[in-house]
Symmetry: C2
Amino acid sequence: MVDVKLLGLWYSPASHKVEWALKLKGVKYEFIEENLQNKSPLLLESNPVHKKIPVLIHNGKPICESMIILEYIDETFEGPSILPKDPYERALARFWAKFLNDKVGAAVNTFLHKGEEQEKGKEEVFEMLKILDNELKDKKFFVGDKFGYADIAANFVGYWLGVFQEASGVELVTSENFPNFCAWRDEYVNCSQVKEYLPPRNDLLAFIQAYAQASASKT
Amino acid sequence: MVDVKLLGLWYSPASHKVEWALKLKGVKYEFIEENLQNKSPLLLESNPVHKKIPVLIHNGKPICESMIILEYIDETFEGPSILPKDPYERALARFWAKFLNDKVGAAVNTFLHKGEEQEKGKEEVFEMLKILDNELKDKKFFVGDKFGYADIAANFVGYWLGVFQEASGVELVTSENFPNFCAWRDEYVNCSQVKEYLPPRNDLLAFIQAYAQASASKT
């Protein structure tokens, strides 16, 4: 019996990345919703270094860090490949996944703050979107013509970013500023590998708005 | 004919990571020393997103980001494996490599600054070393009993960190504070896969001292 548990959060893009990979492979898993205000003993013992979700637990062994979990899933389970087969294309997929993971999330979070911090964040996101806009010209997916590793890593810019914009009132992404990025994004959220697996937009928006208000009341 | 070029810097741990991987595999390559004050057109066109070394150019195709280059080298060239074969061990190797790359370098750089920034950096490095000290108990290598991916990623803490300490006067790593880490480090710098490939300590120390002085004179 395959024993796969995922410790995650319904609103977390990192958690969803792992869920997408499991669903692509057709792996049955138990999703365990964590509570960041009161982390479970299972999370703390499974990821003692970072104490963060997502954690995949496969036959009792924990694997941490979303993009490392994706590689593990790809190497462990049968089903459609997540990474390309060709080493050079694999390197490109890992390059864009790293870019999307390292840079974009933290900068977009500043949209929920105000003043100087938000302005700096907006500038950073603008520069990143210029890079993505240039890369995504006439492209449906990041590498080759196949949905995969980098596209899963792109869920934050493809979906969450728009919700952050609406919650914060920041309007950075327009089809005038970033026509290629917007064309890609509109295809992205409607492709079958993505559309079925997204958290409901209204729920996500309400959550991020509540989070922004709670942050503002603390400062 | 294999055409492999590496754009790098003699004092860069990231650059050395790639060199170690190429040497482990026995791949012949041309090393091209870059000048960060006057980056070559080849670097700018090979890594237009980050404009950083190292870049591996294999048969005219550029691959960027040191740890992604290592995976590419492992998947492309014959010779001893850099990553373990087992998917779970691969995930562990990637986990520690990411920890070592994402966290440690930036914090250690603050040793060369003064005051609050240095104090904050020291605290961060102390916490990281506690984690590494715990992990490295009775271990010669990070994963399994074999030198590989995470050990190559550890070159900064294994060698450069000591030189940064000497250049800055910060003394954080002692065998009383971190006995397991120090035992690992002393084995590490003397193992054959490491010792032959390190830049000369005196040259590195002189370079980092000069860099620290130049930074101090600007503030």
